[in-house]
Amino acid sequence: MIEPFTLPFMQRALIELLILGALAGTVGVLVLLRRMAFMTDALTHTVFPGVVLGFDLAGQDGIFWGALVAAALTAVLLTALTRHRAVSSDTALAVLLTTFFALGVVIVSRRSGYTADLTAFLFGRILTVAPAQLAQTGWVAALVIGTLAVLRRPLLAATFDPEGARAAGYRVDVLDLVVNLLVALVVVASVRAVGTILVIALLIVPAAAARILSARLALIIPVAAALGALAGWAGLAISYDASLHHGLRLASGGTVVLTLVAFYAVALVTAKTVPALRSLRRRAPVRAS
């Protein structure tokens, strides 16, 4: 499982996936606890037209910025749409999701080589990661993790008990906005590598598996990050091995996601069968920051 990574392009793909896996795993815990899975899924679709337009205007480098603009636009429109009491936030999300996604499909369908481009946008191009893109991902990861570390107490309070947090003087609306922006940043950073469709798996599945294995937040977060990174490495190695030695052309992004789902299944079975884990899930530590 180490042999493929002697090639420079495979090394870059591996580093990119390790960073993204750990980052998305960490942020995914927040998504899970705040029940934002649908919102996140919508976000992964609404960045699509941004990805396409960004690529049209500036090539590979434009994808990040195009996605960023689309994600920011989503956050603003979502806030505006849900101001109307008559429209619930999931309805607003569904409207935004389909509108943006259709917009992306229409834009991409104008292009020649339609199918190949669409596949790349939807499922990513992990094997063509450039060094500059790696640096960008690193900066995003540092920014997101740094923000989470600074805001960990307000975020925990506002996620567990929003009304109590408001009563204690925390600006819960601002914290909500910050969380949405952090999730958007992770989606944007992941889009080039794993595509708009597979980002959601990176965010949700490691966190869900970690939650099954433990009831301690102090354990869930590192476990989710580790599972995300591990799946990135294993998925990449498996797809490389299958393509080279078995004549099976497996898409890297898809293989990474299937590896994650396999982890999730193992977590489900282990939690049901291993008694030590059951007690770990029930008891939690008194010491925490």
């Binding site: 567990f160 009563a167 204690a168 008891r283 008194v286």
Partner: protein
């Protein structure tokens, strides 16, 4: 200086008035029960005291300042069943949240913070459950944990929203004891409830509410059949000794 002063307070949701002309004060070591039927505006008044809803008219003064300025000295206890029982957090971590404003964002909790959290949990009789996950406790025990979180904040004004709803007898007694201890330490307490017997047991004063105020004063003098009938509208009421019965 009163801990809490309500001066002709009115609150409206859009054009719909939720509370009108609430007037009264609560002193150190005093407990007041907000009494009224569902939808009377009890929770709205608590939210107004926390400055979570804007006032349409009147002023609220907490410890001589605006509620926002006095926030550090005010603690709020929500209803336990509004919180997600699946949340991966321990009882000890929930109580420590009461210290967050003192701990700040970055530094680690000091020994004093951990001691305050442990003592608060002892006060509600759950010191041995600190390591258990919050959601594994009974509803009444969860309510006690939330009270412990408030106690850990060392408040001078404590606001409780329907703390006795669906709470077993053991937890009810533990809540009563902890509230009594806070009062004797000099804290002022506001409890919203529709349980007249609990109001009698815990509170020196009552505020009868149903959109507007139907009485604010010492419990015995204010909890009269006439006042209660006015507050609850068409419902018939009887006072038997110190027991109050509401029938619809």
């Amino acid at each position: 200086m009163s801990v809490l002063e309500l001066d002709m307070v009115s609150v409206a949701y859009g054009a719909v008035p939720a509370l009108e002309h609430i007037d009264g004060r609560v002193e150190e070591g005093e407990a007041v029960a907000l009494i009224g039927p569902n939808g009377a505006g009890k929770s709205t008044l608590i939210r107004a005291i926390l400055e979570l809803v804007p006032l349409a008219a009147g002023t609220i003064t907490v410890l001589g300042a605006t509620p926002a300025r006095a926030r550090r000295d005010v603690a709020y206890v929500p209803q336990a069943d509004t919180l997600d029982p699946q949340f991966p957090i321990s009882v000890g971590e929930v109580v420590l949240m009461g210290r967050y404003r003192r701990i700040g964002w970055l530094r680690r909790p000091k020994a004093a913070d951990r001691t305050a959290a442990r003592e608060a949990l002892e006060r509600v009789g759950l010191a041995d459950r600190a390591r258990d996950r919050f959601g594994t406790l009974s509803g009444g025990q969860r309510q006690r944990v939330l009270l412990a979180r408030a106690i850990a904040a060392e408040p001078r004004l404590l606001l409780l929203d329907e703390p006795f709803n669906g709470v077993d007898a053991v937890s009810e007694q533990a809540l009563l004891d902890a509230i009594a201890a806070l009062k004797s330490d000099g804290a002022a307490v506001v409890i919203s409830t529709h349980d007249l017997a609990m109001a009698h047991l815990t509170c020196d004063e009552v505020c009868l509410l149903n959109r507007r105020q139907f009485g604010f004063g010492p419990t015995d003098a204010t909890l009269t059949p006439d006042n209660l009938r006015a507050t609850y509208g068409g419902h018939a009421l009887e006072l038997r000794g110190d027991q109050v019965v509401v029938t619809s």
